[in-house]
């Protein structure tokens, strides 16, 4: 039910994002989803890739600070109200969204949203009860 995500610390200077992409390309790693949080001084790049362990290792070998976090990937019908439904479930449960990012699948009509909640187990439970489709890690890596 959980998806592994790697996060990378980046200083706000030109070329750093390109460096990450180059390292991953060199190791034959495919990026499935990504988001970048930025502040004045630094950024945090979050990635879901086809091979988490390998990606983490090559980035570390290249001097990056890398973290691993568990997130949830939820399948949402690609129509108005899809996201609102999920968020209202979480609101009722009193769970906070730390951050989220979405992407649309190439085939099929559904969007996939990656959530980072402050309470992971509680969120999974609540979403399942509400009948929301939670994707397995393997499914997301292989997208």
């Amino acid at each position: 039910m959980k998806v592994e995500q790697i996060s990378i610390f980046l200083e706000n200077k030109s070329g750093r994002l390109a460096d990450v992409a180059t390292v991953l390309a060199g190791a034959g790693i495919n990026i499935r989803a990504l988001s970048l949080a930025d502040t004045t001084d630094f950024g945090i790049l979050r990635l879901i890739v086809n091979d988490t362990e390998k990606a983490k290792q090559v980035l570390k070998d290249n001097g990056f600070t890398v973290g691993k976090t568990e997130v949830i990937a939820v399948e949402v019908p690609d129509r108005p109200g899809g996201l609102a439904h999920i968020l209202s479930v979480m609101k009722d449960e009193g769970v906070n969204v730390e951050y989220m990012y979405a992407f649309v699948q190439r085939s099929g009509g559904n969007a996939i949203i990656i959530f980072r909640f402050d309470e992971l187990e509680k969120s999974i439970h609540a979403l399942q009860k509400a009948g929301v489709v939670i994707l397995k890690g393997e499914d997301v890596y292989a997208l």
């Binding site: 200083e11 750093r16 001084d41 630094f42 945090i44 001097g63 990056f64 600070t65 973290g67 951050y99």
Partner: protein, 433 residues
């Protein structure tokens, strides 16, 4: 005007005789009263009776800030604690401050020395002394205060901060003498400009500036912008506080050391051998009259040279050249002594933070700003922005708590800060003083 004509113009020979007498007495007293000094002298194989001339000073061991740290807080006090009437402190090299004490007579000597300093800089009875040195553990505020009172001037104990109010008071009270750090003097000039106050409409005539390094360029700027004569004064809490040396208003060239109270030496910082007047080296002081907190051959880590040539003001005391640098890595930020090791101490007390940091000092306008770059290791990294921002704020707060200065913490990628190859570069000082 010379405050104490008798002593400040003593012929050199008479002065040296007085110094020797005082030195012998001081060494005997310290040897008897302070076990730490007694042990150090025994290790160096020297007894008080070995001091037969001023040249024998070199037989005595040096004292450093490390000695002060080892004896924190009162271990080097040379009088029973009942005789201590004042305690001051300045930054130590790590978390603990350097503590100094004064007896009633020390406070009295200090007032005399600061009265001399003010007089040397051209102040006199009837002046309105605007004392913007900080009052508190820092020796600047109270040291200047007592001296100005001794001089017979009217003191405004305004302390630092709140520049607009300071300027209002200068206008309304007719301040004639300004005492503060040179960078704060420039800050006051900035604020005057903002407030549309013309410095020539004020009564300021002279400013006595110290507690941080400054240059001839800065002097010119201060003199021009504040319409006063800027005098460099010198002191350090370990030796007394302000009142160790002062420029005279006549020459504004070199600071007369009050040699009847303090015995100066210039030593080669590598060989630790004394150097003759004129040569640059580390400034070392031995106190000659201090009761509560005497120091023997205290290494200031400041670089200067002694000027032996007579001065047109009539004082016979040698002058020390304006401080040109340091032999250690101490920084002076807005008048506060800061050691990189103190910042390291803060960083190391925060879990997960590694000792890879870089301190960047800059001057924005007339104010020093300091940025501390800290590498983000896996231990402190988070995928959440707020966690990292909170960490930065925490470091900023703890540095502020320990050092009393605000800084900006910047998180940087690992390995961006140069690793130590021998000596790591911990500080980049971009200030053009």
């Amino acid at each position: 005007m010379i405050w104490n004509e008798e002593f400040e113009t003593l012929p050199r020979e008479a002065l040296q005789a007085l110094q020797l007498k005082r030195l012998q007495h001081q060494i005997e007293r310290v040897h008897a009263a302070v076990p730490y000094y007694r042990n150090k002298m025994a290790e160096a194989g020297v007894k008080p009776s070995d001091i037969k001339s001023l040249k024998d000073l070199r037989k005595l061991p040096f004292t450093t800030k490390e000695d002060l740290r080892l004896n924190y807080p009162f271990g080097l006090f040379a009088v029973p604690f009942e005789r201590v009437v004042r305690i001051h402190a300045s930054s130590g090299t790590t978390g603990k401050p350097t503590v100094v004490g004064y007896t009633k007579r020390d406070i009295d000597s200090w007032a005399e020395l600061m009265a001399r300093t003010l007089s040397c800089g051209g102040a006199h009875q009837g002046d309105v002394v605007h004392n913007a040195y900080g009052y508190g553990l820092f020796t600047g505020g109270l040291g200047a205060h007592y001296g100005a009172e001794r001089l017979g001037a009217a003191v405004i104990p305004i302390s630092g901060g709140n520049s607009k109010r300071q300027i209002m008071i200068m206008q309304d009270f007719g301040s004639t003498v300004l005492m503060c750090t040179p960078s704060y003097a420039l800050n006051l000039a900035d604020v005057m400009k903002e407030m549309d106050v013309d410095p020539s409409s004020l009564k300021l005539r002279v400013g006595l500036f110290g507690a941080e390094p400054w240059s001839e360029n800065m002097r010119e700027e201060i003199q021009k912008r504040l319409n006063l004569k800027a005098i460099d004064i010198f002191g350090l809490s370990e030796v007394m506080g302000p009142g160790v040396a002062s420029e005279c208003v006549e020459e504004q060239h070199g600071l007369h050391i009050f040699e009847d109270y303090f015995l100066p030496e210039i030593v080669d910082p590598k060989t630790m051998e004394p150097l003759p007047p004129g040569e640059h080296g580390e400034l070392v002081f031995t106190t000659l009259t201090k009761e509560a907190f005497p120091v023997i051959r205290y290494r200031t880590k400041d670089i200067s040279r002694l000027i032996a040539e007579p001065c047109s003001c009539g004082r016979t005391f040698y002058r020390m050249e304006r401080i040109t640098g340091r032999t250690d890595d101490m920084l002076i930020i807005r008048g506060v002594n800061v050691f990189p090791s103190q910042i390291e101490h803060v960083l190391m007390s925060i879990e997960g933070v590694e000792p890879h940091y870089l301190i960047i000092v800059d001057r924005e306008g007339s104010l020093d700003v300091i940025e501390v770059q800290v590498e983000v290791s896996e231990n402190i990294f988070s995928d959440e922005v707020k966690v990292l921002e909170k960490l930065g704020k925490k470091i900023e707060r703890e540095i502020k708590d320990l050092l009393g200065i605000s800084c900006k913490v910047k998180l940087v990628e690992p390995k961006t800060i140069q690793r130590s190859e021998g000596k790591a570069k911990r500080v980049i000082d971009n200030r053009k003083l």
